[in-house]
Symmetry: D3
Subunit: 223 residues, 6 copies
Amino acid sequence: MQRAFTRYAEGSVLICMGNTQVLCTASVLEKVPPFLKGQGQGWVTAEYGMLPRSTHTRSDREAAKGKQSGRTQEIQRLIGRSLRAVMDMTALGERTIQIDCDVLQADGGTRCASITGAWVAVADAVDGLLKQGLLTKNPLIDSVAAVSVGMVGGQPVLDLDYPEDSGCDADMNIVMTGVGRYVEVQGTAEGHTFDRTELNHLLALAEDGIALLAQKQKSARLG
Amino acid sequence: MQRAFTRYAEGSVLICMGNTQVLCTASVLEKVPPFLKGQGQGWVTAEYGMLPRSTHTRSDREAAKGKQSGRTQEIQRLIGRSLRAVMDMTALGERTIQIDCDVLQADGGTRCASITGAWVAVADAVDGLLKQGLLTKNPLIDSVAAVSVGMVGGQPVLDLDYPEDSGCDADMNIVMTGVGRYVEVQGTAEGHTFDRTELNHLLALAEDGIALLAQKQKSARLG
Amino acid sequence: MQRAFTRYAEGSVLICMGNTQVLCTASVLEKVPPFLKGQGQGWVTAEYGMLPRSTHTRSDREAAKGKQSGRTQEIQRLIGRSLRAVMDMTALGERTIQIDCDVLQADGGTRCASITGAWVAVADAVDGLLKQGLLTKNPLIDSVAAVSVGMVGGQPVLDLDYPEDSGCDADMNIVMTGVGRYVEVQGTAEGHTFDRTELNHLLALAEDGIALLAQKQKSARLG
Amino acid sequence: MQRAFTRYAEGSVLICMGNTQVLCTASVLEKVPPFLKGQGQGWVTAEYGMLPRSTHTRSDREAAKGKQSGRTQEIQRLIGRSLRAVMDMTALGERTIQIDCDVLQADGGTRCASITGAWVAVADAVDGLLKQGLLTKNPLIDSVAAVSVGMVGGQPVLDLDYPEDSGCDADMNIVMTGVGRYVEVQGTAEGHTFDRTELNHLLALAEDGIALLAQKQKSARLG
Amino acid sequence: MQRAFTRYAEGSVLICMGNTQVLCTASVLEKVPPFLKGQGQGWVTAEYGMLPRSTHTRSDREAAKGKQSGRTQEIQRLIGRSLRAVMDMTALGERTIQIDCDVLQADGGTRCASITGAWVAVADAVDGLLKQGLLTKNPLIDSVAAVSVGMVGGQPVLDLDYPEDSGCDADMNIVMTGVGRYVEVQGTAEGHTFDRTELNHLLALAEDGIALLAQKQKSARLG
Amino acid sequence: MQRAFTRYAEGSVLICMGNTQVLCTASVLEKVPPFLKGQGQGWVTAEYGMLPRSTHTRSDREAAKGKQSGRTQEIQRLIGRSLRAVMDMTALGERTIQIDCDVLQADGGTRCASITGAWVAVADAVDGLLKQGLLTKNPLIDSVAAVSVGMVGGQPVLDLDYPEDSGCDADMNIVMTGVGRYVEVQGTAEGHTFDRTELNHLLALAEDGIALLAQKQKSARLG
């Protein structure tokens, strides 16, 4: 994780996991969405995009097609929910932290890299607010990170740097906080359904992966 | 579950769970999406919509706004994946089963009702293909159903007829097959994160709920 | 006509004419469009949609296509004008009655069924306003209903339950009030033009049809 | 009516009625819509638009807004149906006549002027096809024209050059062929409903107006 | 140039250059875009469109396609910039002059004709404001006109009435004020790049053309 | 200029000019647009985008807004034309080189950086085709680069690393080939018009800037 990768965003992190590279920025906006106006609390939201040639074969630019795909919307909603789970909205005050995750290179696990990197960007943006005295108390309750685990050839695999959707029987994205509480559990088994024993294996594996990532986030923040 | 609710669709089921009412239709189309052409296998896909006044206060019509919300897209993708998990695409042959789930009245759990009802509609549509001799072998591997479970006031609750998103700490949608294998596990804890013990409680509760629904699907199909 | 078909809308009517089934809801919104703000009068407007599999072969979902067809817009404008013709906007006060007509099953005459059913839904919604004391005087001046008449094989036919646009030389939709005054006359003869004598026959036939529907509306409201 | 107003279209007519000015062009396209392919018959279709400053106050450009209004769609569908009513599609052969009606200046009655002018443009385009030997028989069965009539202050008025929608109790557009057969009857009484006697007066007035216009179309074609 | 071509716009000019005919209107709106509110200055903006059959073969209507092409946007931005270059925004006061250039017939050079004609329309609109006493000082600093020049078969050509993009090696649009200062220089050489000598020839030719047009603008304004 | 910045694109260059950073990729697609099919020649086209937080304050994501701005379309059309000017389309054969320029950080001059970087990416992609034997002759006729020059406080300035649109009286983008021939000349003087002497100064300055960039492109390609 490379912090301050670009200079204008209040938080800007390039996260590399395997060949996946995602630029995560956190922008502080001194406004909240209409449904929160005048309620003394903030908001965290996210948008996600892939550069057209971040993948092996070029995919169409969503801006040119005129709409975001269902997949894009699912991912950006997931990133937003994950970061909101560790933010004390009242402590944040009436402002929005707008996250942008843009995939420069995609080799699987882009949504997990996005969440993990976005947390560091948000933490940097919050630091700025604290330094400027705009916040007196850190509104971040904990860190948050995400891993992908899956059954490959009948074996549970921690999917940190594995090609997305390839040869994978079942696929699970787990988002957890630094202290190990669940934020999101999203498992899908389009190809092969799984039983409770396999589910338990996947959950255990994910827990280990998250612990590792939480450690790396801490190091990145110190570095 | 009321079968043959409308007369033109190959399968047409009105499912009522609490005050939630969803009309699920399955249409058989003798074509497949471009990416499957000439591969000798079929496809199952789904669309989802809510009538504007299915809810307590009227929401805007998506056709008039000119786009489907991220929530709509998430739900229709989930329905499609769930049904594909129990369909043998090669046995189905080069045809598509198009599911439409339209919410007439919404009182929580519309995505679970949609999946549970859609399976009955798809099964009816498949019966028709078998009766017409267009299929010689049933391509449905198993039944599939979905429940919503959640932590409410610290207690795990089976969310069959509970107002969506109200007073709920954490919310989990579980999709399972008739024999009890997992298809989808989607838990989210925007308000309160949860730990592994709570997760286990929720999974157990969901398993019971699914068994009950699988029973009701069987009865509906016999009735 | 089945009243209170769904529970949340202020008026909710399922109207069945032949195999055509339309769910008509009337929602009371305590606001008016911008062009009426502060003028002490209300508004009535309508939207119309068909469920994708309401027809013999599935048609595309307008929300997924991202726009409403010209036909949909024509019909919803017609419904709105028809209901406004029997509403005293000043007596209604600064509120909007929003009508939604959603076709569950289509076997011809959906626009006529929509207008006829919508009136009952609007009347029920107005009743609610009167009961709550939000209105002191009934703003509905009269009832309104619609029939379709046409020349089929040279003979004028009252088209209450006839397949839309099939084998029909000329087609006319007539909207009239309960006392028999014209609100809309929409005749079209794409196939075979018609002369004044034929027009007179069609108008007479429509008048009889409307009288019958006005009677049914009255019964439904009493029932 | 000024023929050959622009030089590229196969038919091009500027029609002025009162202060209303509409440029009607007819373009011959050697193709038919997909639903008619290979059936040996042609098609006539129409589009309609208003220049932003054709009216007293500027209205938004539909191309900039990204969609055509419901009113625009209604009008262009009406123009298309009216012209198709006098065209023998088999005699036209597998080609499309595409009509464009663009309002340069609007002072009421733009849809009637469009239909009346479009017929002359189509007739000119058909002449071209006959001259080039692409057609051996004239596929135009008759002429077609349209007038607007209405009740103003309780009196039926022939609305050839009257401001649209102003002070008018009821408004009726009548499209008739040269020999006096009805193609479209579109009456609307949003403000004041009308009875059969008034309807008869309006129809008689329209008949006279159409006869006059049919005469002017004939003169324009000779001139 | 024919002034007052339509009657409602504050300025309305039909400009014909060769077979190209563009209707340029200037509308005075008593408002400014949001970014200028309360700053005591005005704005000039432009929109551009082509009637579908203004060209040899019919092109699709942008309103029907639902978006303006990149070419349309480029041209309307160019027209807006050109007119703003000769307007003293403070002297104009908090109002907008909205230009609409609609091509009735296109035979090359539509963007140059649009700018040249739009200036006359704007000047007429400004005259109206002066006459009504809404302005005390003329905010127009100078006139502005545009020509197209190009290399054709190795020879520099003044492109006043030449088919657009045909047989032309390099193409340059020059916008200049009445006193001969540059506003825009847009040269493109997709086919054949050009050297400095050729550029100088083109610039000299353009200067002559502009002087001629400035003269014609003056005459039109006096006439 | 950092080549092979991402791994999947056939050419991938990160170009930094001042604080501006643009990722330029060239993708080889074995197809051509419909209008070129079967003509034995290739095509070069470009798309352009800015990451939402590439700028000082966050701008809206075009994919979320559902359309590309006029500015975006102008720039991507300019990039495409510039690269096509140095490509021998017949030598390229029936394939498309698709350029994507995505701005990671914007500090003025993004369109010039895009063109300059894109050429290196295209040259790398062409090298790949030559190495694979898919091309036998290099279809690139020359290099191409772009600079921005402008009048700042009355002085001509070479705008290699200057904040876009700030305090600049006139602004000119010049695209030239390696041997010094003009491809595009785009000068605009919204604020202050300029005379011929100033134009000559700007052109001279641009020529020097281009020579420098052509040198850097050569070095980058060797490095």
